[in-house]
């Protein structure tokens, strides 16, 4: 018998090379681009009005020591209603303490006043921590102090140079998950869509090959959906504080996955190949029709923890900035192409198996 020779050949379709290239670029860019500077902690987080207040600020990716002269800090009530720090003492690149005098009267009357801390540094740019300190009203109110609120303005702020991803409170570095968690769902939807298309083709022409194709796409689509769910759960644990918070989008995507899992179970319970293929085709088109209201319509009708739900469209405005778009869109395209590639492999394997 002839000894089988191993041919090491790297000949591959161009789009498969492109898939690898795009994904490698996404993983590198997703990891090495730094975040903008931000504020992670402010102590104390409660204070009384009408007193001097010294707050310790902990920064993130900050370099307070490099240029202390132009460092400014404000506490903002709303809009231009701010007070500026009278003195700032820098104790390290990540730590500083700022002195404020909180006026005893406020332009609005509330039980407690949440103040936003705004920092401006010549190199780090502006960093903001909303609801940094809660102020309780003073016992003795001096109305002449009201003008203190309008003395200073936040102006001539700096911008950090270079390419960075935005710093968001709570999210911090996990903003990078946008390039890994979100494309999973895009890939899943595209794969299920292609699968539904082949099911339609099967209905029209009745070729068993179309059934094989549609099933391969569902198998890989399920893997991507499951990955989206698991990565989302891990992300949610450290940002929303629970693996599963019964968010409407979480629930609906789990239901969508269960519908497709049920398709696979139903398929394996039918013995006749033609009947199996016909049932699958019908069910599959129905399932894809359900996917659209489940993932795109219902989550937008109620409140959701996910960005871009409860009315406003996703991927617009504050959710993604232009730097992130430059990585996010390639990530989506790359993972979709990877899904198509994997489905093609599954289809070819199933075809080999079926021909025996």
């Amino acid at each position: 018998m002839q000894e089988p020779t191993i041919h090491l050949s790297f000949r591959l379709a161009a789009w498969k090379w492109a898939t690898m290239g795009i994904l490698i670029a996404v993983f590198i860019a997703g990891w090495i681009v730094p975040l903008k500077s931000g504020i992670i902690k402010v102590t104390p987080d409660k204070a009384a009005a009408g007193e001097m207040l010294v707050v310790d600020v902990t920064g993130y990716n900050s370099s307070f020591l490099t240029d202390t002269s132009l460092l400014r800090a404000w506490l903002r009530l709303s809009g231009d209603t701010v007070i500026m720090a009278t003195r700032i003492q820098v104790t390290g690149d990540r730590n500083l303490s700022a002195r404020f005098y909180i006026p005893s009267v406020f332009p609005i009357r509330q039980e407690a006043y949440p103040l936003t801390l705004v920092l401006d540094h010549s190199q780090d740019g502006t960093s903001v921590l909303p609801n940094a300190i809660f102020i309780t009203p003073a016992l003795a109110q001096d109305t002449s102090e009201l003008k203190l609120w309008f003395k200073d303005k936040i102006e001539s702020v700096h911008e950090k140079a270079g390419i960075q991803y935005p710093f968001r409170n709570i999210l911090a570095e996990t903003i990078r998950n946008t390039y890994f968690h979100v494309p999973m769902w895009f890939a899943m939807i595209i794969l299920f869509g292609v699968s539904a298309w082949y099911s339609l083709k099967y209905y029209q022409q009745g070729l068993i090959d179309f059934d094989r194709k549609s099933i391969a796409f569902i198998k890989v689509g399920l893997i991507f959906g499951l990955l989206g769910l698991v990565t989302g759960m891990l992300w949610a644990k450290y940002t929303w504080n629970a693996y599963w918070s019964w968010d409407v989008k979480q629930n609906m995507s789990a239901i969508a996955l269960l519908i497709y899992a049920a398709l696979m179970v139903m398929r394996s319970s039918v013995e006749d190949d033609m009947q199996k293929a016909r049932l699958t085709a019908g069910y599959n088109m129905f399932a894809f029709g359900l996917l659209i209201p489940l993932l795109f319509i219902i989550p937008r009708m109620t409140d959701s923890l996910h960005p871009g739900n409860g009315g406003n469209p996703a991927l617009g405005g504050e959710d993604l900035d232009n730097t992130m778009r430059m990585v996010f869109y390639p990530a989506v395209i790359g993972f979709i192409m990877l899904g198509l590639w994997m489905s093609q492999l599954v289809y070819r394997t199933d075809k080999l198996k079926g021909n025996q």
Binding site: F27, Y60, E173, T174, T231, L234, Y238, L338, L352
Partner: protein, 86 residues
């Protein structure tokens, strides 16, 4: 009579269960190690701006895709073997 593992229904079932068992084991180890580290220092995963969450997400994606590819590879090998025997 000796059972031929790959052609007997029980053998097939056993093999299936083996793969599933490995998958479940991997999942358990991942979750347990995450929990164990959480007990050691309560803020390990939240340190350095929660960067370990991103690491975990990337790891889950890569490990799952690799396991899937390995399974597919084994499937193809099996078909090739059967084709050779015919």
């Amino acid at each position: 009579m000796k059972l031929n593992k790959s052609f007997h229904i029980y053998g097939l079932f056993q093999q299936r269960m083996k793969i599933k068992g490995i998958l479940i084991m991997v999942m358990l180890i991942v979750f347990q190690s995450a929990q164990a580290e959480g007990e050691q220092s309560p803020d390990f995963i939240r340190s350095i701006g929660k960067i370990y969450v991103v690491a975990g997400v990337c790891l889950i994606i890569l490990v799952t895709l690799f396991i899937y590819m390995i399974q597919l590879d084994r499937k193809i090998s099996k078909i090739e073997k059967r084709q050779k025997n015919e």
